[in-house]
Symmetry: C2
Subunit: 336 residues, 2 copies
């Protein structure tokens, strides 16, 4: 982000008809957006774009989710029909949604599977999620998707996730990169019961044993313990920073990808703001690790990008305040 634009934004906030700082984090958000856009006042995001990365996970066979894997493909159809939560929230927030099949264990329409790497990623407690070639393909696809979207006019990016079982590899990645113990990263996901929670603990413990051996190489870590969807998200988030495009992060699954992306491209996080704090415990570790303070704390735990999209109106407001408010001079209001 551009320092001069940030300084200009801070100075502008001093001249608007309010006590400086009295809009709190809404002011900080405007300053951040000005830095990302290298312009002051910042433009309200005009083409915010959500890309939902869908993929199945072999680990789901171990009973770590409350839902069967077939739901992943069914939800892809639901995204395409506009019936999922993120579709509705995005429409309310003025964003558009694209879904990409990275590793769904079902047939999806051709335009959705253009970047598909395989059907279902590996069962990470005992095998790698991906081959070397597959992880490279997935990361490259994520980067290409960010490029496509920015080239197509997107001026703000949101990654979303869809995939039964995907909080399990996410928890493994977060534990591997933050040094946390399994029980500290394991949440209820889609809403699992105690028995499924214990199965998830075992799965995370076994996968983490494998992941900790490759923690120094983020791409090898993705190959070992992520999946094509999460690997693609990591590439997408890293490339957004390369393209100097602001990102609103969602919850745990996107957050896990973000932690890896920051390893791949240190400093990328300057281009990200945390949309919300998920109810998943590992997400708080993500936020601490990336030193990001979430905009919303609504106890959401759906994924799809839903938490990030819910925060989008705050960014629009932050920018509009800087464009449309009167200054003390213009309005003839006395300063202090």
């Amino acid at each position: 982000p551009d320092d001069q634009a940030r300084r200009d934004a801070l100075a502008r906030h001093e001249r608007l008809t309010k006590p400086a700082g009295s809009l709190g984090r809404l002011e900080e958000l405007g300053v951040w957006l000005a830095g990302c856009q290298a312009t002051c006042p910042p433009r309200p995001p005009s083409r915010p774009r959500v890309v939902v990365f869908a993929g199945d996970h072999g680990i789901a066979r171990k009973g770590v989710s409350a839902y069967p894997s077939e739901v992943t493909g069914q939800m892809v159809a639901n995204f395409l029909a506009g019936g999922a939560a993120v579709n509705v929230l995005a429409q309310a927030a003025g964003a558009t949604v694209r879904v990409v099949d990275m590793a769904v264990d079902a047939d999806t329409p051709e335009f959705v599977r253009a970047h598909k790497v395989r059907r279902g990623s590996g069962c990470i407690d005992t095998e790698n999620a991906l081959t070397d070639a597959e992880v490279r393909a997935a990361v490259t696809a994520g980067r290409a998707l960010a490029d496509e979207e920015v080239d197509g006019g997107a001026d703000l990016l949101i990654a979303g996730d869809m995939g039964i079982g995907n909080t399990t590899p996410s928890a493994v990645l977060v534990a591997a990169l933050t040094g946390a113990e399994p029980v500290a990263v394991i949440g209820r996901g889609t809403g699992i019961d105690d028995e499924a929670w214990m199965r998830k603990c075992v799965a995370v413990r076994d996968a983490l044993r494998r992941a900790r051996q490759v923690v120094d190489d983020p791409v090898v870590l993705l190959r070992t313990a992520a999946g094509a969807d999460i690997a693609a998200m990591a590439g997408f988030l890293a490339q957004a920073a390369v393209r100097r495009t602001p990102v609103v992060l969602d919850g745990l699954v996107v957050g896990a990808a973000a932690v890896v992306a920051e390893e791949m491209a240190p400093g990328a996080r300057d281009w990200w703001v945390a949309g919300h704090r998920s109810a998943e415990p590992a997400h708080t570790l993500v936020l601490e690790h990336l030193d990001l303070r979430p905009l919303l704390e609504m106890d959401m735990r759906l994924g799809e990008g839903s938490g990030a999209v819910s925060a989008l109106p705050l960014l629009t407001m932050a920018a509009r305040v800087m464009n449309e408010m009167a200054t003390f001079d213009d309005a003839g209001v006395s300063g202090r």
Copy 2:
């Protein structure tokens, strides 16, 4: 709020294509709105209305604010010109703004001063804010304003405040009704320095000594230690409940009026949701006292209704999710 509509809303959330509860507080908000409207799914607010209650306060002469009292009248003009923060935020959120002069110590346009009670409320450390007749007029005006707005089609109400010095009477009201000590309720308001903070402490201490004697009668308390703007807000918030109209509460000043309104009309708070947690310390006491959990925690401390309006898109989203999301059956998505 209507219990059957609430139950219907809870049941509907079970059928939408997401794990039940996974949208967290966004789901709760939809259920609350359904209860207020006595219908499920709830309608997104179509005519949300902000009423900014402007008034000056004699206590400002004691140096409790960083700004001179003339700013109140200047800001009324700024609201009318559309240049204040709440104007911009409201436009972004699809709300409209009305400003009413309850006690501004300046001349304002006739349509703004229709309910004006006096020029500047009394200096509450040594005298009553209002006379008996004035406090009745102010509360009645607030009730009439709520009626006018609801009769005019408003389906969601937000009260905002504007008045140099107004966090001082607000702190007194909160301390009087929650039993807190002066230092626990005194914040930096518009951004005062240490010396002004000490003057504010003295003012609150002296006013609180007077207020505590009349704490059992909310209208007498308003007469003693509030002001025409805050008294009108209390009437407005109480009447919103009478009219079964949902309210998004703003920060400290509106919160102080809300605490008094709940004394005047117990149960009114069921019709209110807290838009945000202000950076003013006394506002946290308000939220605890009313048992309301804020939607946003953005460190805002501007007033004007700005925090409430910033949360408004979440209400729209909460309602739209309930109207527009597919059900498991419709979408052919497998349940758990």
